[in-house]
C-alpha cells in the first residue's frame, strides 16, 4: 500500500436513475482511486448495470453527478466519455457478432493512432493467444469464453485509464470464469484502474481492493475487500456461507 495520496478517477455522488417509472438507482455514492480495483456486488436488479451505463452516459441520470478525473461528464455524448480513457465492457460482452476478431479489435482501438495499433494487438494476443488463432473468425462464431476474451482484449487495445467490466463471469463455466479473473488480475498489475460489477463475489473479492454492495438501488455496505468479505450479509448472500 502506498502512502502517497492517490487521485480519484471516478466520483459518483447522489446518483438517481429511473427507467420509465422504475427507480433503478436511488442516491448512490462511490469513489474509485487511481490504480485500484473496485468491485460493486449485487444481485440481479440491484442496479449494477444501470450504474455502469450512467458512468458511460448511455443513460441520463435524474439527479447526482459523475466525475471522471475531476471532470463533470453531465453533458458529454457517450463517445466522448470513452475518449477520456474509459473502456466499458458491457453486460453480455457486446462483441460485434458480424465483425471478425480483427475487426472487433480495430473498433476497440478506434481512437488509438494507427501507428500504435499493431503493438497493442500484439500485446493482447499475448495475453489471449486464442484470439490469434481465431483472427479471421466472426465474433458470433466464437465460444462464450472466447467472446469474453475478445471483449476484454477489445477494451485493452483502447489503452484505457479506467477499465469498466460488467459481470465478466456471467454465463461462463467455473474454469473459464477463473481464467477471466486471472486475466483481470494481470491487467490490474499493469496499473490500470478497474471498476468491476459482479455477482460472483468469491472471485471478485479476490482481485478487488475495495468493494461496494448494491441492493435495491442503494449502497448497502462498502469498505476494503477484506472488510466486505467478512460482512455477515455478504457471506450469507454471496459467498454461500451460512
Amino acid at each position: 500500500m502506498t502512502t502517497a495520496p492517490r487521485t480519484p478517477v471516478l466520483q459518483v455522488a447522489g446518483l438517481h436513475v429511473s427507467y420509465g417509472g422504475v427507480r433503478a438507482l436511488r442516491g448512490v455514492d462511490l469513489e474509485v482511486l487511481e490504480g485500484e480495483t473496485a468491485v460493486v456486488l449485487g444481485a440481479n436488479g440491484a442496479g449494477k448495470t444501470t450504474l455502469l451505463s450512467a458512468i458511460s452516459n448511455l443513460v441520463r441520470p435524474e439527479a447526482g453527478t459523475i466525475r471522471l478525473w475531476g471532470r463533470d461528464t453531465r453533458n458529454m455524448p457517450p463517445h466522448e466519455v470513452a475518449a477520456l480513457g474509459v473502456a466499458h465492457v458491457p453486460e453480455g460482452r457486446g462483441v460485434f457478432a458480424g465483425l471478425t476478431v480483427r475487426e472487433n479489435l480495430m473498433m476497440g482501438a478506434y481512437r488509438v493512432p494507427a501507428s500504435e495499433r499493431r503493438a497493442l494487438e500484439a500485446q493482447v494476443t499475448e495475453l489471449f493467444p486464442r484470439l490469434k488463432e481465431r483472427w479471421g473468425w466472426r465474433a458470433g462464431n466464437l465460444s462464450g469464453g472466447e467472446q469474453q476474451m475478445l471483449a476484454i482484449a477489445r477494451a485493452l487495445v483502447a489503452r484505457p485509464r479506467l477499465l469498466v467490466l460488467d459481470e465478466p463471469s456471467m454465463g461462463l463455466a467455473p474454469l473459464l470464469a477463473r481464467e477471466t479473473f486471472r486475466a483481470i488480475e494481470q491487467i490490474k498489475r499493469t496499473g490500470v484502474t478497474v471498476l468491476l460489477v459482479e455477482q460472483n463475489a468469491r472471485l471478485a473479492l479476490q482481485v478487488a481492493d475495495r468493494a461496494w454492495v448494491l441492493a435495491g438501488g442503494v449502497v448497502e455496505a462498502s469498505g476494503t475487500a477484506e472488510e466486505v468479505a467478512r460482512l455477515g450479509s455478504v457471506r450469507r448472500a454471496y459467498l454461500g456461507v451460512a
Binding site: S56, L58, P77, P78, H79, E80, A82, A83, A87, H88, P90, G94, F96, A97, G98, L99, E103, M106, M107, G108, Y110, R111, A114, G140, R154, A158
Partner: protein
C-alpha cells in the same frame, strides 16, 4: 434463335443490370448502416442527371469532369438530406425513417418538376460512349461498358472500405450495435455521413451515366430505377455490398431474358416479372443470395 442472339441478350442484360447494380450498391450501403430503405436514392440520381444536363453539359465540360461533378453533387445532396431529415430521427423507429425517405423522395421529384418541368431534356452525348462496338456479331455500347466498369469498381472499393478501414468497419459496428459502438468511442455521425456521401455519390454517377446511355433525362426518371435497385438489393441480400451488385446483374439478366425469350405479347409484363421475382425470392430465400440472417441483429 441462335448463339449470337443469346449472347446479345446477355450483353443487354449486363448493360441494364449494371445500372441497377450501381444504384443498388449505394442503396444497400445506406441500408446497411441505418436499416433505412432510402427511397430518395433514385431522386438523387435524377437531380444529378438533370443538373448536369442543365448547368454543366452546355459548357462542354470534359466528360470525366462532368462525371465527377455529378458524383459530388449526388454525394453532397445525400449528406444534406441525411442532416436535414434523417439525423433527427435517430431514436425513431425504422418505419418513421422509411416514411420520411418517401417524403424526401416526393419533395425532390416534385421540386424538380416545378423547376425543370416534366419535359425530358437532351443530355449531351459523348462520342466514345454512344458508339456501338461490335465483337463477333454482338453489339456493345460504350456507355454500357463504362457503367459496368463503374459498378464493378465501386463494389470492389466499398467492399474493401467496409472491411479494411477504420471508418468503414465502424459503419458496420454502428449498424450492428449503436450502444457498444459508443463505448468504443465511435461518434456515429461520422460513419453515417460517410455512408450517405459514398452511397449518394454512386447515385450521382448513375445519373450522369444514364444521361450518356440514353441521351435524355427527365425529372420523372428516378422512381422506377430506385424500385428496381431495391429489388436488386433484396435479391442479392440487402446490406451486403457484393450482394447488391450481384442482385443488380441477376435482375438485369432476368428482365432482358424474360422479354427476349418470350413472345412479344408478354414484353409489357416486364415490371410485373421483376416484382414476381422479388416475391419469389422473399418466399424462398428471404435473406437474399449473399445475405446473412438478420437474427444476429439483436
Amino acid at each position: 434463335m441462335n448463339g449470337t442472339y443469346l449472347l446479345q441478350q446477355l450483353v443487354n442484360g449486363l448493360a441494364i443490370g449494371s445500372l441497377y447494380a450501381l444504384l443498388a450498391v449505394g442503396l444497400s450501403m445506406v441500408y446497411g448502416i441505418l436499416r433505412l430503405i432510402n427511397f430518395a436514392h433514385g431522386e438523387l440520381m435524377m437531380v444529378a442527371a438533370m443538373a448536369s444536363a442543365t448547368f454543366l453539359a452546355g459548357l462542354r465540360v470534359w466528360p470525366p469532369l462532368l462525371l465527377v461533378g455529378g458524383m459530388l453533387l449526388g454525394g453532397v445532396l445525400g449528406v444534406v438530406v441525411e442532416r436535414v431529415a434523417y439525423s433527427r430521427l435517430r431514436q425513431a423507429s425504422e418505419v418513421n425513417l422509411l416514411v420520411t425517405s418517401l417524403a424526401v423522395s416526393t419533395f425532390l421529384a416534385t421540386g424538380a418538376l416545378m423547376l425543370w418541368s416534366g419535359q425530358p431534356r437532351r443530355f449531351e452525348r459523348v462520342e466514345v460512349l454512344s458508339r456501338l462496338y461490335e465483337v463477333g456479331g454482338v453489339f456493345v455500347r460504350g456507355a454500357d461498358i463504362a457503367i459496368l466498369a463503374m459498378a464493378v469498381v465501386s463494389m470492389a472499393l466499398l467492399t474493401w472500405l467496409t472491411s479494411r478501414t477504420r471508418l468503414g468497419v465502424a459503419m458496420r459496428a454502428v449498424a450492428e450495435d449503436l450502444r457498444v459502438a459508443y463505448l468504443m468511442g465511435i461518434d456515429p455521425s461520422r460513419p453515417i455521413l460517410l455512408a450517405f456521401f459514398l452511397g449518394s455519390m454512386l447515385a450521382g454517377a448513375a445519373g450522369v451515366l444514364w444521361g450518356w446511355k440514353f441521351g435524355q433525362v427527365a425529372p420523372t426518371m428516378g422512381f422506377v430505377p430506385m424500385l428496381k435497385a431495391f429489388v436488386a438489393a433484396v435479391i442479392g441480400g440487402i446490406g451486403s455490398i457484393p450482394g447488391a451488385f450481384l442482385g443488380g446483374i441477376v435482375l438485369g439478366l432476368a428482365e432482358v431474358f424474360f422479354v427476349g425469350l418470350l413472345p412479344a405479347t408478354y414484353s409489357g409484363y416486364r415490371d410485373v416479372f421483376v416484382f414476381a421475382l422479388l416475391f419469389l425470392m422473399l418466399l424462398v430465400r428471404p435473406t437474399g443470395i449473399l445475405g446473412v440472417s438478420l437474427a444476429r441483429k439483436a
